[in-house]
């Protein structure tokens, strides 16, 4: 039989750095492979958040950036949340997406910051925050979206919140949607989105639950 039975081959060349100092050195100035490996190993060292943040700021390799974001997500401390949420303002769409993914992966560690992000001065950040809030438990997320919709001046941010409410909203969201509809009567796409969301919520509320 031509199939061979052998013990597993040699480990990959990306062996983790053995100590913190060596790891930080590689993170700062190693090859692509070394920086990737050091970034991954850094997740097991909570003190490495500052070094990961500095590395992320200068990193040009997409792959290594991914590893840094994953490690920051794994560390999931207020410090690592701070580093990641800064990238929601990045001019680089990939960095913004990576930051959103990392914040979602952080789960509860990121939740305390999401309300603030929904009130950010930058409408783009508020729209991204809607995508993050959507991943919270519905009993927390729905009130946040309702609060936002009562005041939000930007139609695109409202649209992001309405889209989420269409999936997770209950009857309590209907009056909020109605008020939003009044405010944006002159914005056809939003009026359409509100109608769809409200119909969906009503249909779900009317159907029997298991």
């Amino acid at each position: 039989m031509p199939l061979v039975r052998k013990p597993p081959g040699p480990p990959p060349t990306t062996a983790p750095a053995s100590d913190l100092a060596a790891m930080l050195q590689l993170l700062a100035g190693g090859s692509d492979e070394e920086r990737w490996s050091a970034a991954r190993a850094a997740a097991d060292v909570p003190d490495s958040v500052a070094a990961l943040g500095e590395a992320l700021a200068r990193e040009t390799s997409t792959r290594v950036r991914q590893a840094i974001f994953t490690s920051l997500a794994r560390i999931a401390t207020p410090q690592s949340v701070d580093v990641v949420r800064g990238y929601l303002r990045s001019d680089d769409a990939h960095a913004r997406t990576d930051a959103c993914d990392a914040l979602i992966a952080m789960g509860e560690a990121a939740w305390p910051y999401l309300g603030t992000l929904l009130r950010d001065h930058d409408a783009d950040v508020r729209a991204l925050a809607c995508g993050l809030v959507r991943n919270m438990p519905s009993e927390v997320a729905v009130p946040l979206f309702c609060e936002l919709l009562n005041l939000e001046p930007d139609a695109n941010v409202c649209a992001a919140a309405i889209d989420a409410l269409a999936e997770i909203g209950g009857p309590e969201a209907l009056p909020v949607l109605e008020r939003c509809h009044e405010r944006f009567r002159a914005t056809p796409f939003l009026a359409f989105a509100i109608t769809i969301a409200a119909d969906r919520i009503r249909a779900q509320s009317a159907s029997p639950r298991a």
Partner: protein, 255 residues
């Protein structure tokens, strides 16, 4: 699928699993996700009820893709004489790695010209022991042509069949948790990894860790096959999508 009252606990357990996997705090929350099919939850929900139903030649189209496209592509990139390494992880009770072995022996014309190393790994030590034993009951053969059953298995008592020794010794089994980098690193690099129907059960962070581990376990240009409802693109941008006639798989970009 029909579940009688007697299966109530079975159903309940899987619903709870899906609630945990989706981070739903209440049944209402989860039911809303299911009804709205958030992130393809309906498929995940259905899969949760079939996940343990593994059998020989499951998702045969990926095996066809292995012999017709993946291995030829790998041979073009590999130095001559290097063995071809294939990893089935998680391998459950061994049906998948043995299927790969049988498929290649039966369908890949170059099988005699290359050293092929097949490794099966699972986090469940009982599953790994069962895989090493290579004993299966009738249900495992529902997709395997009868002549292959006759050729590669020997009948045992109680309607069970055992893999022939030659084939059993051609697959190396180990214990591995794909989220643990130390464990995955120890297995070395592979040309093709079959990692089907497991990533969907991890939380976001574990999924990313597993994807990065598997990336390290692939040679540049190596391929990873996921379950038909899974998408690596939703987990990590590290891999390229590779579309072939028989299957869509993911590839570590060649260097």
């Amino acid at each position: 699928m029909t579940f009688t009252q007697a299966k109530r606990y079975y159903v309940e357990r899987r619903v709870v699993e899906r609630m945990t996997a989706t981070g739903s705090d209440s049944f209402e929350d989860y039911f809303g996700r299911l009804r709205s099919d958030v992130y393809g939850e309906i498929e995940h929900f259905v899969n949760a009820f079939t996940v343990n139903e593994t059998y020989f030649y499951r998702e045969e189209h990926q095996l066809a893709c292995l012999s017709s496209d993946l291995l030829p592509a790998r041979l073009q990139m590999k130095p001559p004489g290097e063995p071809i390494r294939i990893w089935s992880v998680p391998c459950s009770t061994g049906e998948e790695p043995y299927s790969i072995a049988i498929w290649l022996l039966e369908n890949w014309p170059l099988v005699d010209q290359h050293d092929i190393e097949i490794v099966g790994s699972d986090i469940d030590t009982n599953a790994v022991s069962a895989a090493r034993a290579g004993m299966y009951v009738k249900r495992a053969f529902m997709r395997l042509p009868p002549y292959l059953l006759e050729k590669y298995f020997e009948p045992e008592q109680d309607d069970a069949w055992k893999i022939i020794d030659d084939l059993r010794q051609s697959v190396h089994f180990t214990t591995a948790n794909i989220v643990d980098r130390t464990q995955t690193n120890a297995h070395g690099r592979f040309d093709v990894i079959f990692c089907r129907n497991v990533l969907i059960y991890f939380d976001e962070t574990s999924r990313r860790r597993a994807a990065e581990n598997l990336y390290e376990n692939l040679f540049p240009g190596g391929f990873i096959c996921l379950g038909h409802t899974e998408s690596m693109s939703r987990i990590s941008p590290l891999f390229d999508v590779a579309r072939f006639a028989d299957a869509i798989v993911y590839q570590r970009p060649p260097e």
